[in-house]
Structures are given as structure tokens and as C-alpha cells.
């Protein structure tokens, strides 16, 4: 299930763009693949993300998955609730299960992302 209005990566991350900032998380498909999430290793606030490079790790009891940055930018806020409630990603990955917020440093990166329709098509393939 993809949500309209968000942008998506082939690695199953989403980004919600508001002006110069973006909220980042993983998709419903990704959380289903991982199963029950037990731990999220968050990036540090202030750190610099590079598009397509890993910046966080999400662990379930059986698997661990890197999270890749949908866009380049500086981390302005992290979802510290995930430290104690990693299951938020399972329960509500597009809202309370967000991972971090960034200040976008390279707007052109948006061109590499898919919209909801394209992402759903990508999942079918």
C-alpha cells in the first residue's frame, strides 16, 4: 500500500516533501518484509545524508535492513519515540513511524524518486 502525495525509492523508503524539508520513513511493503521490528538505529541529528546511501538500520528478530536516504540533506529531527517503541513502524509506517526529518540540500534528487502510482507499479514488477 502506497500513500498518495509521498515520493518513493526502489529500496522502499518514502519521503514527504514540505518546502525545503522532508520527512523520511520506510514503506508498508518494507515493514511487512521485515516482520515485527525490534530495534531502530537512528541517525544523529545534524548528520548529513547522501541520497541512496544508508543512514539507519532497522532490525527484526530475524533480519536487519539498511535504510537508504531518499534525498540528500541534513538531519533536523529524529523520531526518538522509535527508540522505545520500534513497533510504531509496523503499526503506522507513514505517520507516527517516521524515521527522521531533513533539510534538503539537493532538490534535484527528487527527480530520482517515484510517485505512489509508479511505486505500486514497481512493487507489482
Amino acid at each position: 500500500m502506497a500513500v498518495e502525495g509521498l515520493l518513493y525509492t526502489k529500496e522502499h523508503e518514502w519521503a514527504k516533501i514540505e518546502g525545503n524539508s522532508a520527512t523520511i520513513g520506510i514503506t508498508d511493503y518494507a515493514q511487512q518484509q521485515l516482520g515485527e521490528i525490534t530495534f531502530v538505529e537512528l541517525p544523529e541529528a545534524g548528520s548529513q545524508l547522501q541520497q541512496s546511501e544508508e543512514f539507519a538500520v532497522i532490525e527484526s528478530s530475524k533480519a536487519a535492513s539498511d535504510v537508504y536516504a531518499p534525498l540528500s540533506g541534513k538531519v533536523t529531527e529524529i523520531n526518538s519515540r522509535l527508540e522505545t517503541e520500534p513497533e510504531l513502524i509496523n503499526n503506522d509506517c507513514y505517520n507516527s513511524g517516521w524515521v527522521c526529518k531533513i533539510e534538503i540540500t539537493d532538490k534535484k534528487g527528487v527527480e530520482n524518486l517515484m510517485n505512489a502510482k509508479q511505486y505500486e507499479q514497481f512493487l507489482k514488477e
Binding site: F39, E59, S60, S61, K62, A64, D66
Partner: protein
């Protein structure tokens, strides 16, 4: 054939069911790739192999009175340890991937982890690493993962056997190893503080150190933490029966060689590397970890936990490539610690220190035999200076049935006449006397 159960008749039956001949079963291997040679002697019977190996065993001299230590110790091993680790339910099992069939192994690992934490005053321990040397290397990698830095400081009072291993493992990695020179047998604080900066990931020290000297690293831990670096402390578990704990000093990662906890010397292995840390670092820790949980009926159960950090899940991104560790040795350690108990471990450590102190007094009364370091604080090993080259003196004492000590010139310049002597609880007053008499007479 030994250890093969199928009779020739059964083999025929099975081949018939498959519908292939034995040669055809190997038909997927191209002919030109079949073994060019396979010249081994004919197999031996159990009786023959026992005779042959009894003879080989007799070519090893185990009659020497042992004052050799250097990180590998001749401690007393109660019979219970061997009896338990000889139970084949333990030793013929493998990694506890199926928790229902491995509660014995899993609970014993959990208990081992707990005992290591209690001994070191730390909060988390893993199920074991190969040995004390690889444990330091793994601790360095862990510290660099945590701090995201690439420089480490190691004092040369850390066991040289481990330092050369660390050199090997870090050679191709982007890690800067900075060595400091011990000062009067203790970690060189001036040099460490001078080198410590914002790029330092860890300081690596040992207590008691290779010379047997005891220290308190609280100050270095603080200095390291101020710069955002970690303190890795390698220690000798028996000594922790009485010595100030790494946790108390502020160490972040504690490692060590666990051989002294109920494992025979056995010409170098199998031994066990232990590792403990602060709980907040546990997800960066290498190796297996047993954890407690509940089963579907609410019963206490143990499982391997945090497996996503490991190679079989994370492959190239794992915290370490370690798979098999030293599980059976961890069992030896927990049985040993359980049997000695709270009082027994303290008494054993105390006894080692008492006897070493006695030996020190006795040996330093010999004319021209002097302590090498001014510091008097040692656990059960100390360094003596002899009037002539130590290797030669040690060789003369071997001829008299004594493994008197280790010549430090092997690893340290300027210590040609120095010998490291170790005294465990197994050495008697009489044996110490014999060492003193013989040392005096060969000088």
C-alpha cells in the same frame, strides 16, 4: 569401515532405490577433476592408534615444575569441570539454532554471560570469542563502530602476543595503531594523554599487565571519555577474585583470555576469549549472545538473540565474521566459577597473590637477582633481573626440571636479563624453595 553404519548389502539396496551406481553418484564431477593422488597409509585400529599416540604423548615433557605464565596459566582444575564437559549431550551438539533442543547449551551460555558480567562489573557479555587476542581485535573493531573513529592507542604493557595479532588483523584496514611505551612497568600515562585526541576511538590497556603489575585505570578512562574515546581493558579473570574491577574503573569494553577458568593448557588451545561491555553498546558487540525470554506457554526460555548483527543474516555487513565460537569452553568456565563460588574464587586469587609474593621475597634474596620494576604492586607474576642473559639461565633450569619463567627479551628490547615468573595456587612452598636453590646455583 570404522564409523560407517551401512552394510555393503544396505548400500546396494539404497543404490537400487536411487537407480544409480556409486560411480554414477559421483558422475557430476568431471573425470579430469578426479583426485590425481590420494596416498594415505592404511587405517589403524583403535588399539594401534592408542599405542602410537601414547608414544607421541610421552615425547612431551610435562614433568617440569611450571612457573611459566604470560597470560596462560597452570591453575588447578576440579574434576567436576571435566565430568560435565564430557557429557556428550553438550559436546556433540552444535550451535543452538533450535532453542527447543538446546536449552542446556543456551541456559549455560546465559549463565556464563551473567558470571562474566558479575566478575568484571559490566552489564552485557557475549557467548565467547576465540581467545584473548582475537577478543582485543574484536573489541577494537567494536569501539571504532561505536565512535566512528579510526585511531587506537595501545600500551606495550599489553600482552605482546596479543599486540602482534592486532597488528596482523588491522594491517589492511584504515586503522591507525599508536603504541605507547610502558613506564616503569605501568601504562605510560604521559604518552597516552599526549596521543589521546578527538580522533581516538579507544585506548587499550591490560590489568594485571604482561609484567604482572597492577594498576587502576580510572584516570585514563575519564580522560578517554572526555575525548569521546572508549577504554578497552583486557584482564585475567582469576585476578578479578580480588582486584578492582574494570567496571569500577570505568572501562567500556572488557576482554580477556578465559583459559584460567577451568581449561587445561593443552599446548595452546582450545581457549576462550571473553568480552563484556556496557549495555548501551550491546548491539555493536560481535559474536553470539544468549537471551532470556518466554515460550508460547509462558515458560522461561533461552534463545540466541540479536542474530541480525551476525554473519548468517547480515553477511558482508555483520559486526564480525565469527560463527563457531568456543561454546564448550564457556561451559568449562561457568562450571568452574559455579564450583569455586563466591568464596573459592577469592581464596584462589588470594592464594596466587600470597604465593607469588612469597616467591618474590625468596628469589630477590638471591645475590644479584633484582626486581626489574620499582613498583611493588603485582598479582601473581613479576619480573626479575638476572646477572646474565635470561634465556640461557632458563635453559639451564629446564635441565633441572624447572620451567622457571619467560625471557622478556623475546618481546622487549633492553630486557635481555629479565625473566617473567608466574606463581599459581598450584605451586608449593617446597617448589618455590627448589626454584630459589636452583636459580642461585646456576647463576
Amino acid at each position: 569401515m570404522p564409523f560407517i553404519s551401512n552394510t555393503p548389502q544396505q548400500q546396494k539396496q539404497m543404490l537400487a532405490e536411487i537407480g544409480l551406481s556409486m560411480d554414477e553418484l559421483f558422475g557430476d564431477i568431471p573425470k579430469e577433476l578426479m583426485a590425481k593422488s590420494f596416498e594415505l597409509k592404511e587405517g589403524l585400529s583403535e588399539q594401534q592408534v592408542r599405542n602410537q599416540l601414547t608414544e607421541l604423548a610421552s615425547k612431551n615433557s610435562i614433568g617440569l615444575t611450571c612457573f611459566l605464565g604470560g597470560g596462560f596459566y597452570d591453575h588447578f582444575i576440579p574434576a567436576v569441570v571435566q565430568a560435565i564437559v564430557s557429557r556428550s549431550e553438550f559436546y556433540t551438539a552444535y550451535t543452538p539454532y533450535q532453542p527447543e533442543l538446546s536449552q542446556g547449551t543456551l541456559q549455560s551460555i546465559y549463565e556464563y554471560q551473567s558470571a562474566i558480567c558479575r566478575l568484571t562489573d559490566m552489564e552485557a557479555a557475549n557467548a565467547s570469542l576465540y581467545d584473548g587476542g582475537t577478543a582485543i581485535y574484536e573489541a577494537i573493531m567494536m569501539a571504532l563502530r561505536i565512535t566512528k573513529r579510526n585511531k587506537v592507542i595501545i600500551d606495550n604493557s599489553v600482552n605482546p602476543i596479543y599486540r602482534v595479532m592486532v597488528d596482523t588483523y588491522t594491517r589492511n584496514l584504515k586503522i591507525e595503531l599508536q603504541q605507547t611505551e610502558n613506564k616503569e612497568g605501568l601504562a605510560n600515562r604521559e604518552q597516552i594523554l599526549e596521543k589521546l585526541d578527538e580522533e581516538t576511538g579507544a585506548v587499550i590497556l591490560q590489568n594485571p599487565n604482561f609484567f604482572g603489575c597492577i594498576d587502576d585505570f580510572t584516570d585514563i578512562a575519564q580522560a578517554a571519555h572526555e575525548k569521546g574515546a572508549l577504554l578497552i581493558l583486557s584482564c585475567y579473570p582469576i585476578s578479578l577474585g580480588i582486584l578492582k574491577t574494570p567496571g569500577d574503573m570505568g572501562a567500556d569494553i572488557v576482554t580477556g583470555e578465559g583459559q584460567s577458568l577451568g581449561m587445561p593448557l593443552c599446548f595452546g588451545g582450545p581457549y576462550i576469549g571473553f568480552m563484556a561491555s556496557r549495555k548501551k553498546f550491546v548491539r555493536k558487540m560481535p559474536g553470539r549472545i544468549a537471551g532470556q525470554t518466554k515460550d508460547q506457554n509462558g515458560k522461561r526460555a533461552f534463545v540466541l538473540t540479536l542474530q541480525p548483527r551476525e554473519q548468517h543474516v547480515r553477511r558482508a555487513k555483520a559486526t564480525s565474521n565469527i560463527c563457531s565460537n568456543e561454546a564448550l569452553c564457556a561451559l568449562s568456565a561457568i562450571v568452574y566459577l559455579s564450583l569455586l563460588g563466591k568464596q573459592g574464587l577469592k581464596e584462589t586469587a588470594q592464594c596466587c597473590a600470597d604465593k607469588a609474593s612469597y616467591a618474590y621475597q625468596r628469589l630477590t634474596k638471591i645475590p644479584n637477582v633484582k626486581p626489574h620494576f620499582k613498583t611493588n604492586w603485582f598479582f601473581n607474576e613479576f619480573v626479575l633481573d638476572l646477572p646474565s642473559e635470561a634465556p640461557e639461565v632458563i635453559a639451564r633450569l629446564i635441565e633441572r626440571g624447572l620451567a622457571a619463567g619467560f625471557p622478556l627479551s623475546r618481546y622487549y628490547k633492553g630486557m635481555e636479563n629479565s625473566m617473567l615468573i608466574c606463581v599459581t595456587e598450584q605451586r608449593t612452598k617446597q617448589e618455590i624453595g627448589i626454584l630459589a636453590e636452583n636459580l642461585e646455583s646456576v647463576l
